[in-house]
Every structure is written in structure tokens, then in C-alpha cells.
Amino acid sequence: MAQIDRDKLLDIYTRTMKVNRTDEKFRELLMGGKVAVMYYCVRGQELVSAAAMAALEKEDYVVCTYRGQGEQTAKGIPMEKWWGECLGKATGTCKGKGGTMHITDPETGIMVTTGVVGSGLPIANGLAMASQNNGDGRVTLVSFGDGAANIGGFHEAMNMAQLYKLPVIFLCQNNRYGEHTAYADHTDSPNIASRAAGYGMPGVTVDGNDVHQIYPAVKEAVDRARRGEGPTLVEAMCYRMMGHFFGADFSYMPPEHIAEMKAEDPLPKLRKVMLEHQFTEEELDKIVADIDAQINAAVEHALAAPLPDTDEIYKDVLEETA
């Protein structure tokens, strides 16, 4: 088992809790009726996003999906801008014009958040192609779910990435559901990673709830890409502990599945690892308390922020009107 040094563990823990506390806060606001927007919960997938973002450099590119809160906050989008966008405010990353499904923040490398399943993979290739063309040394990571593995763009992109040896990491967060359809009802392949072999690409399936598996797997893929050796498909097994979107019924999840995912919850597991590495309960609690304070301040800021001018509907259509 690859060792992760203490500093990196702390980094991963901090990012994980940022993702988790953001998710908790969002659900609290939605439950309380303070906010009424589409939100795709990431409970259960926090560690996958956090570990993946911790394996990247600040300038690396990320393409994610509507369930992208984990990548976005773990990559480091300033919280005020993130919450501003989610609440449709002028202070948001996209001036309130993108919303929860289209968070974009090139400064932190969040280049596209797509609302269309599977559409991010071909775009990630293009970002990576630009890096290959201009030699800027960046890699591009694209995150998607198991459901995206069955759309044509996945196959086209995997083949093209391997053909050109593009510096791209395909991170499949296999959360066992494509929208409301269970994995076994949409796919008969035993896993997604084995598909990589069909393109001549390395593919690996790891436990996304185990920091000692997910971080080294993504890091190795990032290192390969940066060395110019081409793409890797990393499949992180994880659980989507809520419905497809906030408020969606998920009574279709069988009781044994729910029991299994509770037992595999990445947060207590990560906490245990941290304690094993001599972090104290107090230190870890302090990290969470600090994150909560930042989130609360960001939410207050966003709630008080102005709405976008209605003129914005005519702007940013083409350059002339920008």
C-alpha cells in the first residue's frame, strides 16, 4: 500500500470536510426553504473528489458534472463566489447565469461543469490537447459517473485520448446509480475500468472510500499524464448516499444497499486514518469548525448579495455584446 505523507493526508482531510460541510449546509438551506434550486448531493462521494483534487496542481484543468460540488470546492473555488453562483447572485462565479449545474472558474481550473451526462470527456481531451500543443505541462482531469460510461462520447473520447496520448485522467465515480437506474440495470460489464483495455489504455478500479487506494491511483494517473505517457481510466467505487438530486425519492435503493453504504461511509474511515497518523480529535474538530465558519460567512455573503441585472440576458452571447 502506497504511503501518503502526513501533510498530504491533512490536505485531503481538509478538502474532504470542505466538500462534506458544503453539502450538509446546502441540504440544510434547502430543507429550511431558504433556498430553492437544483442541487445534486455528493454525500458519500466526498473523499473521491477531495483525493483527486489533492493529486492535481493548482493550474491543472478540471471538467466535472452537475454533481461537481466536490471537485469545485476541493479544487479551491472561493466559497463566496461558489455560493453566490448557486444562489443565482451577481457575485457568483458566472454572474448567476450558469447556476449549480454550470459552475465555471478558470482561475482555479474548473473549466466546464456540464449538465449533459458524458459530454465532459471529449472537452477534457481538448484542454489536454492544448497542453500537449503548447507544452504548458498541465494535465486535465474529467470526472463523471458510471452512467456516463454508456454514452457515445465516452467511447469516442477514450479512443481519441489514447490515440494521441493526451495528458488526461478519466475519473469515473462509480456511485452505483445512473440517475435513478441501478448499475446492474444499465450495464452488464463487471466494472467500467476494464473498458480501458479496449482502447489500449490502463484502467484501474479502486475503493473510493479508502484514501490509501483512491489518492495513489489518481496520483499515479496524474504522474503518467504529466510524463507524456497518456491517459488513464480510474474507476472509484463509491456510494451516492442520497437521491439523484436533492428532494428526489430514492426509496428504490434496497435496504441491503443502504446498509452497505453506511458501513462503507468514507468519512469515519478517513477520520480513523487521521487518528492513526497521530492527528488529534481536537485538531480534526478545529478543521471542521474553521470550515463551517468560512461556509457560514460565504452563505451570508451570498444571501445578501445583489441579483444580476436583467440586462445580463443580452450579455455574453457573442463577443460584440459582452
Binding site: M111, V112, V116, S119, I123, T140, N159, E320, A322
Partner: protein, 328 residues
């Protein structure tokens, strides 16, 4: 200046843009030297100059081609993606419509998408129902894209340079039957601004608003009718969307009559939008209803005589003009 074909004009424009800006590159099926420089040779000779990284022959993967162009554009490059035949845009509409066209807006202006999508089509070469359609109206209906088509080599050169310069996606439609047209080379650096129509021929009795190959038909008809004392003005839109409304409306206000003409099928075509806008804004100048000519509302047929019956013809144009003028 030398005479050049439209193929050469496009090649020259791409060549000089690639020479000036290392961020310009081409990708598409069969575009590199190994495959002969593109199915219609537009990228011929460029692999030898710029290498296979900048003239990337791709798998037959339209979604991956356009997705790659979108990503590269977001990273600040200026990709020129080729979709070999326009009907194949059906394979990659999500990347064009949901991504290329919308990323500037949805990001609040942070991620413009400067890319050109070159594509070829045209009725009259016997390619049948899945290789011939003019689908410009599909894209004209989407905010965030320029839709461009040249009718002659000089415009081809100038519009291609302007399209590569543009900081937004451009659908650049090349008509197969126009590749061999010859005209004087406008020379290096020549640009035709996007969104500017040309008065291809001045006239006083009626305005034909058209673009692409049918400009040639309109000009031929104008020549013939001049002999009968009918003065036809031909407006070549050059940029189909967003189009040069000022030039179109000024022409119609001058002549008082308008006929829209395109190869694409007539129902819900660009001619319908033009006609509606003209009737709203030029009502007081109009001497009669705006007339529309377009392709037949069926798939493009294969047999040559069926294809010729399908497509707008010069006699049809003459008939519509004379009907408009009450001279039938």
C-alpha cells in the same frame, strides 16, 4: 493578382492564420497529408508545413472532434475542426449547441469558445439524403454561434480569416459545387468582417436575399432579367446569423420587394425569419408580400433528374420575381 479557386482561397486563409498564430490548428477526419489533405483538399500541403500535431487526422468521431475543439478553445487555442459533411453535425449537436455556443454565456463571459467548424454540403452532386443538406437554420436558431457561408473565392478567403479571428464559434459552410469557382485572389491578410452582407449586384425592382451557391443563380437570373428591363438587386448575406439586418432592410426599402432564396428546405428556413423581419420592419415600403424559395420539403433524392427537380431553379426564381412584379 492571380486567379484562385475557392479551395485554394480557404487553404491560403488557414495557412496564413497558422503561420501567424501557433494556437491555430486543424483537426478532422482525413485532414492530414497521409489521407491527402482532406476529402476536398482544403488542408492540402499544411501537414508538411506545420506537422501532424497541428493538422490532426482524427478517428471518425464527430463528438470527440468537436469536444476537443471546445476544450482547446477554452484553453486559449483557435481550433479549426472539420465535420466532413454537414449532415454529420447530427452526431455532435450536443457539443456544438450545449457547449460551444453556450459556454461564454453560462460562464458569465469567462470562457469564450473561439473555434471554427468547417463543413461541406450541397445539392447537385448525387450524394443522396444523408450527405447533401444545408442545415444552417439549425444553427441560426441557437444564440452564441456565427453561421457563415461564402459564395465566391475572395469571400472564402476573407471570411475564413475573420472566422479564425472571431472569439466565438463559427459554423463555416462550404458548398461542394463552389470549390472549383475561380476568381481574383484578394491577397494575404484579406478579411471580410462577420455580420456584413454584400450587395452582389445593385438593382431597383426587387431584392433577392440569399447566400452561398444560390447567389450564383440569383446573379444569373438578374443578368437575364436585365435584358427584359427588370432590375434585380442581389444581397449576399455571407454571414447567415447573426445577419446584417441593416443592409437587408435598406435594400428592401429601396426596391420595395423581397425574395428570399436558399437551397435548404423552405419550411422554417432562414427565409422565413428574413421574411417575417422584413414584413415587420419594412411594411410601409413593401409593394407586395415577401416571397420565399427553398428546397423541396423532402429528403434530397439521389437520381439526377429528381435532384434537379428538388432544388430551387433559375426558372423558379424568374417566376417568383415576375409574379412579385405582376408581370406573369
Amino acid at each position: 493578382m492571380a486567379q484562385i479557386t475557392m479551395t485554394q482561397a480557404l487553404n491560403l486563409a488557414i495557412d496564413e492564420a497558422m503561420a501567424e498564430d501557433p494556437g491555430v490548428f486543424c483537426l478532422g477526419e482525413d485532414v492530414s497529408a497521409k489521407q491527402g489533405g482532406g476529402v476536398f483538399k482544403v488542408t492540402s500541403g499544411l501537414t508538411e508545413k506545420y506537422g501532424e500535431h497541428r493538422i490532426r487526422a482524427t478517428p471518425i468521431s464527430e463528438t470527440a472532434i468537436i469536444g476537443a475543439a471546445v476544450g482547446a478553445a477554452l484553453a486559449g487555442q483557435r481550433p479549426i475542426a472539420e465535420i466532413m459533411l454537414m449532415n454529420f453535425v447530427g452526431v455532435c449537436m450536443d457539443q456544438i449547441v450545449n457547449h460551444a455556443a453556450k459556454l461564454r454565456f453560462m460562464s458569465g463571459g469567462q470562457t469564450p469558445c473561439p473555434m471554427v467548424i468547417r463543413t461541406t454540403t450541397g445539392v447537385g452532386v448525387g450524394f443522396g439524403g444523408q450527405h447533401s443538406d444545408m442545415l444552417e437554420a439549425w444553427f441560426a436558431h441557437v444564440a452564441g454561434i456565427h453561421v457563415v457561408t461564402p459564395s465566391n473565392p475572395a469571400d472564402a478567403r476573407g471570411l475564413m480569416r475573420a472566422s479564425i479571428d472571431a472569439n466565438d464559434p463559427v459554423i463555416f459552410i462550404e458548398n461542394i459545387l463552389c470549390y472549383g469557382l475561380k476568381a481574383e485572389d484578394p491577397g494575404p491578410g484579406y478579411r471580410v468582417p462577420l455580420g456584413k452582407a454584400a450587395i452582389a449586384r445593385e438593382g431597383t425592382d426587387i431584392s433577392i436575399i440569399t447566400y452561398g451557391r444560390t447567389v450564383l443563380d440569383a446573379l444569373a437570373v438578374a443578368d437575364d432579367l436585365a435584358k427584359e428591363g427588370i432590375s434585380v438587386e442581389v444581397v449576399d448575406l455571407r454571414t447567415i446569423a447573426p445577419y446584417d439586418e441593416a443592409t437587408v432592410l435598406a435594400s428592401v426599402r429601396k426596391t420595395g420587394r423581397a425574395l428570399t432564396l436558399h437551397e435548404a428546405v423552405r419550411p422554417f428556413g432562414t427565409g422565413a425569419e428574413l421574411a417575417a423581419n422584413i414584413q415587420e420592419k419594412c411594411w410601409d415600403s413593401l409593394k407586395g408580400p415577401v416571397r420565399r424559395i427553398g428546397g423541396t420539403f423532402s429528403a434530397v433524392p439521389f437520381a439526377s433528374h429528381l435532384e434537379q427537380a428538388w432544388i430551387p431553379t433559375k426558372p423558379q426564381i424568374v417566376e417568383q420575381i415576375k409574379a412579385s412584379l405582376g408581370k406573369l
